[in-house]
Amino acid sequence: MSADDYFREGDPVADTKAPSGPISERWESRRFSGRLVNPANRRKLRVIVVGTGLAGASAAATLGELGYRVSNYCFQDSPRRAHSIAAQGGINAAKNYRGDGDSVHRLFYDTVKGGDFRSRESNVHRLAEVSTEIIDQCVAQGVPFAREYGGLLDNRSFGGAQVSRTFYARGQTGQQLLLGAYQALERQVAAGTVELHTRHEMLELIVVDDRARGIVVRDLVTGEVSTEIADAVVLASGGYGNVFFLSTNAKGCNVTATWRAHRKGAYFANPCYTQIHPTCIPQSGDHQSKLTLMSESLRNDGRVWVPAERGDDRAPGDIPEAERDYYLERRYPAFGNLVPRDIASRAAKAVCDEGRGVGPGGLGVYLDFEAAIGRLGKDAVEAKYGNLFDMYERITGENPYERPMRIYPAVHYTMGGLWVDYDLMSNIPGLFVTGEANFSDHGANRLGASALMQGLSDGYFVLPNTISDYLADGPFEAVADDHEAVAEAREAVNDRIEFFLNNDGDRTVDSFHRELGKIMWEYCGMERTDEGLRKAIGLIGDLKDEFYKRVKVTGGAGELNQQLEKAGRVADFFELGELMCIDALHRTESCGGHFRAESQTEDGEARRDDEQFSYVAAWEHGQTGPVLHKEDLVFEYVKPTQRSYK
């Protein structure tokens, strides 16, 4: 069976709406060409925003300020709990406050290169331009960024960047940025422009006359299923890393909102691009429910090693220097422990596969601070990393001042997502997608501190400008509650709920989710092969069948029912998992977070294939399997080169 047997190729993507002209003028020119909505008319236009993370809260608050009527949804009990809250490291912006040579162009260049030449130049340039305004906006909201003694904002270099462009608020940057957006959102709630619906989950998209016109939601407390109609729908529902079951994402993160839209016609782009973060706390046993990230900044001072000999089970302190392998320093003398995330992750997997891993199951490598403590003193190390060391100790019961940390890679971020054009609109008119939920700016690999930047860029600055061009044609015709499309969407939701509650099964949802996660991690994780991906597609298909036969969901429809919520999410993960494998199978090159074992150099580095694969893979949900639409990528400003960190 060739890879083509799993899908069929359709027409190329018709139009990305990217403006032409000099790259630094494109955003300005799009803003000027986009139509505006006069303030009196905005009141007549309703916009649904699904999600209250950085991308959703910023969009909902800004649209509310502009005078649109906004309905904002999240599944948590408060908008402030969206997963963005967990981001630690920081947010990039090309402010060049350090005078160290940073500029919009350099951030643009670094992001295109970091994405391994699989993103759109126009989008990335806009992101770099807008980045500076984000910091201004957040400071005005009172976000307590780290400051220097002179009172100005502090910056650090992050993820191997050569300039200091990362703004941060101790180890809680995501929290502070999200609280800023949340407070702006609550201000609009008080002003009456935004209606908030917490503990509500979107379960279907409503498409009427080829336009996105509303959603079906379930009230997670009462179980009531209802619909809301609007003039446009924005999905800011986050990433899909939880398809792996174990990831650094929050437990509730899921793909349902975007997957349901995909099933209604929205293209899903580059689903196989996932980011694996090298420094997470390893799994401690079968009870493990999630993985915890240890900030990347630890690699600035920690040295990564494993025993030189396989099966060496001495305590780390008993292994003499000469019998340790500092494999990153050995393989990458120029970057050492600071190589990019994908490279560090793969190298850790390689030494563990050789049987040299440490800790339970041999799935870990040491991150050792002994040299740093010797050089800087324990106090200095504590001042820098104290909170992280405490967190590590709380979770593992081991003291990292005395014993090296054990770390292992974990799924962290998904670059893929719903396909959007330059205006952040999907191929379904009126359906916009922002933040991690879309695919737009990071190509095949995201740089550290760039997701927060993108979420806020989309929500505060891009979407509020581009959506007006679409809304200028509104308000659209009223849609009755018994309209065929509405009734059909609502019925689909009710049917699914009925099915799960009445299924006479004997296995829990979590047991299926764990098993799916293992398949994904094994075959569609850090290293992918033709053979493995084919196997995975078969295994997922079988497991999915078993899921529908054997899944057991207790409780009723008309109440808070967390098992029912999970069942729907896992059902969608199965279908997404299949598409991820097909996407990974068809892309026979290695690029960014997608490493195909067949496409590597003699010394084991990723080999891109620009001839064949310089395109975005936008997948349509076809009746008989996925249909691939290619969007060719054009590089006018940054010449594609092979990355090298030797």
Partner: protein
Amino acid sequence: MKLKLRIWRQSGAEAKGRMVEYIVDGISEDASFLEMLDVLNEQLIAEGADPVAFDHDCREGICGACSLVIDGQAHGPQAATTTCQLHMRKYRDGDVIDVEPWRAGAFPVIKDLVVDRTAFDRIIAAGGYISAPTGTAPDAHATPVAKQDADAAFAAAACIGCGACVAACPNGSGMLFMAAKVAHLARMPQGQPERHTRVLGMVAEHDASGFGGCTNTGECSAACPKEIGLDVIGQLNRDFRKAAAKAA
């Protein structure tokens, strides 16, 4: 290890609740407290019983979703630690553990261990923000902020909105939560113009939402997983007095 759990079960907001006993076995000391509850729930589902509902999301101590009173203490026995970060190595084989929801007038129980904390959102909506419409901000360096002010603001802003302070307070007061936000914003130059309206609005909403009054027991700060200090309450009281005097 093997444990006996006594857990608050309540099928809905109007239903009567009670403590129910369960036994879990084979719990690893490396498991988190919530992972131990996951094990219990898998067991209950297998038996065809209704699993225990509880709020959680990030499981790394930052989202503020998890909210259990464990053996009478909000977030359990370990200081500066949310329930999700509490690990079973704190317990011994044979221990008996009581698990209950936050109990406070302003936080009605929805089901089992899940409570309704939307009153916190309403307090923020009543003034816990700085009005800074998108796109109107001056350059970030236009207003320097002394490092100690920024750090002090950060210390208050670290609140995760979990509600442990309310659960720990004998009066069910939301004072620490509210004061943390008041202090965060009052300690920044950007927060000055709305300083007085903010505190008046938030206090009015706090009182209207059914939270109790503050009698300085200090239980809130002792239970706070982010160690928000009582100094923020002093700040709120000062600001409130000034604002009220001015408004009078």
